[in-house]
């Protein structure tokens, strides 16, 4: 990892490494625009973020990141003709309502896709379930009755889902908090990041 990527959150740093210089990027659920700002500054990338929250839209504008305020669940037709090299969906897929449709759409919009998901197969989740409770921790801080997350998957679930949806995984990275995990990934990874494209 280069020194420059160290200022990014671990999963964003991983995503940034897979995005070629001067790419045109669509960042769905871009938050305050950190990733796009970094990519524009260090890699000469262009593109646009998509956000639903007013305060995040304002944060993007304040740092000069182009942003479109929209609800990903209401369809991505606005971006269909946008000719994006890479579509990024970072820790947002589990909060979408029509996950299957969203994934299908981003596969068409972008030449490549990079998606990160929380791994529900992490050993702490299993331990919590064995104790009889849904997990509530710093990574999944929501009670079952009050959570934005609708769809949880394990890394194995997600990988077979990508395959069934007609995608080929080009690269993958498993992270436990901020560290890369190399073995027993399905149990140790808290977050998985995938780079994939249509077969």
């Amino acid at each position: 990892m280069t020194a420059a990527t160290l200022v990014l959150r671990a999963d964003l740093a991983q995503i940034a490494q897979w995005i070629p210089a001067r790419s045109r990027v669509l960042d769905l659920g871009c938050g305050d625009g950190t990733l796009l700002h970094w990519l524009a500054t260090h890699q000469g990338c262009t593109g646009v973020g998509v956000e639903i929250a007013d305060e995040n839209v304002l944060a993007c504008v304040a740092r000069g990141v182009p942003v479109v305020q929209a609800d990903i669940d209401r369809g991505l037709s606005m971006f269909a003709r946008g000719k994006f090299d890479v579509v990024v969906l970072s820790q947002a897929l589990q909060a979408t309502q029509e996950t299957e449709r969203v994934l299908g759409e981003i596969g068409v919009i972008g030449h490549e896709c990079i998606v990160s998901i929380p791994n529900f197969g992490h050993w702490t989740t299993i331990a919590s379930l064995l104790r009889g409770f849904m997990p509530v921790n710093k990574r999944l801080p929501y009670a079952w009755y009050d959570t934005p997350n609708r769809h949880f998957a394990t890394v194995k679930d997600f990988e077979s889902f990508l395959d069934a949806q007609g995608f080929r995984i080009m690269e993958r990275a498993y992270l436990e908090d901020d560290q890369r995990v190399q073995w027993l990934c399905n149990l140790r990874a808290t977050l998985a990041v995938y780079r994939f494209r249509q077969k």
């Binding site: 007013d54 504008v61 304040a62 182009p66 479109v68 606005m78 269909a80 003709r81 946008g82």
Partner: protein
């Protein structure tokens, strides 16, 4: 409008079955209409309405808005208000889509406000903060 006036009657609880002002909404519209007629020449409104009707940016490009916007060199900021019927969010989204299709730099915000088209005249902090932040960026980039 439904929230503000609903079917409220101007006088009492019973219909009067006449042609005079019956509902609160009529009273409001008449009052606003009277007020407007003292501010503006009614003919300017006819003219503006006509101008809006004739506004057809994609006319010279056979309805292809993306082609019509292809020569834009500036960055664009679009803001729409959720209850604006004159310039509804759907139309703004069409412009955003066309600009994106041309790989233009575009920022779009959709502000959830109950004031309809007049929202842009109100002191809405989300709207004002966005415009201020956008202009600040322009100032910063010009200063470089």
């Amino acid at each position: 409008m439904a929230e503000k006036f609903g079917r409220q009657l101007r006088g009492g609880e019973h219909y009067r079955f006449g042609f005079d002002v019956e509902f609160e909404i009529e009273s409001y519209l008449r009052y606003q209409g009277e007020k407007f007629s003292t501010y503006f020449d009614a003919n300017t409104y006819l003219l503006i309405t006509r101008a809006l009707d004739y506004f057809d940016p994609a006319k010279d490009c056979q309805g292809d808005l993306a082609a019509a916007l292809s020569s834009i060199r500036a960055q664009s900021l679009l803001i729409s208000f959720s209850t604006d019927w004159r310039f509804p969010p759907e139309r703004s989204r069409e412009i955003v889509e066309a600009l994106l299709a041309q790989k233009k730099s575009v920022t779009y915000a959709e502000i959830d406000a109950p004031h309809g088209h007049d929202a842009f005249l109100m002191d809405d902090p989300r709207y004002h903060h966005l415009v201020a932040a956008y202009f600040d960026r322009i100032a910063q980039e010009c200063a470089k």
